[in-house]
């Protein structure tokens, strides 16, 4: 292992063994987004109208509520992975990169929890 160029210093170290996992999870969650997103899109535009009652009744039913919950989990997870790549590409300074990814983790988990709580209120609350 040399100590000149960046390439020279990492040659022969092998991979970090976490990139493939990130890449695969991006794909698994993409498949979740695909099916849940298309279901919600079609199901939503086929509701009678966009009034409060129509939308609440729709999301109160078991299947749309389940898919909406899965969509929240899948999209926030996928977005967390995707935005991390964005930060890794464009935030050069290591300390800033750490801060951005930490904030990203906290906000995507918070967003997903808030979304699931809202779906639960709709699904379990009075019709």
């Amino acid at each position: 292992m040399g100590n000149g160029t960046e390439l020279g210093r990492v040659r022969a170290l092998g991979s970090a063994h976490s990139g493939a996992h990130h890449w695969l999870l991006q794909r698994y969650t993409a498949i979740g987004n695909l099916f849940a997103g298309l279901f919600l899109l079609f199901s939503l535009i086929l509701t009678t109208d966009f009034s409060f009652k129509a939308i609440h009744d729709w999301l109160h039913a078991p299947l749309p509520a389940l898919i909406a919950g899965l969509f929240v989990i899948s999209t926030f997870w996928h977005a967390r992975l995707g935005l991390q790549v964005l930060a890794e590409d464009y935030v050069k300074d290591n300390a800033n990169k750490f801060a951005v990814i930490a904030a990203l983790n906290l906000s995507t988990f918070a967003g997903a929890a808030f979304g699931l709580l809202s779906v639960a209120r709709i699904a379990l609350g009075g019709a």
Binding site: F76, G82, R121
Partner: protein
């Protein structure tokens, strides 16, 4: 994230967007990132606001619907519809490329152009359906 300690002397970086001749594959790659990050940063907050409004009752829902139904709200929703369908199309293209297929120059350029165009037609279809029903 394996970080390397002790930075070497600053070295020249290769130029980025400024030097490459634009081509379809570059365009669809950037579009995939713009639509993905756009949905993550704008779409997910809108999704949360909507779910919250439906959970919280008719009054918060009316506030949401007032903004969503206004011209600027419709613009955002149409943009998000296009972002979803376009990112979906270029994401499906990723799945094909992941198998090692679709790198022949002509074929690659064809699908690079077809994905955003198909998404545009689908977006028009969805919104014509919504606005006419």
């Amino acid at each position: 994230m394996a970080q390397i300690e002790a930075k070497p002397a600053a070295r020249p970086l290769s130029p980025h967007l400024s030097i490459w001749r634009w081509g379809p594959a570059m365009f669809v790659s950037i579009l995939h990132r713009v639509t993905g990050d756009g949905m993550a940063l704008v779409g997910l907050p809108v999704l949360l606001w909507w779910l919250y409004a439906v959970a919280a009752g008719p009054v918060p829902y009316a506030i949401f619907a007032g903004h969503a139904g206004a011209w600027y709200g419709k613009l955002v929703l149409i943009g998000l519809t296009y972002a979803f369908l376009s990112h979906m199309a270029s994401g499906l293209r990723h799945f094909v490329l992941d198998t090692g297929a679709g790198y022949e120059l002509k074929n690659n350029a064809l699908w690079s152009i077809l994905t955003p165009v198909l998404a545009l037609s689908a977006t028009v279809a969805v919104w014509v359906f919504i606005l006419l029903r």
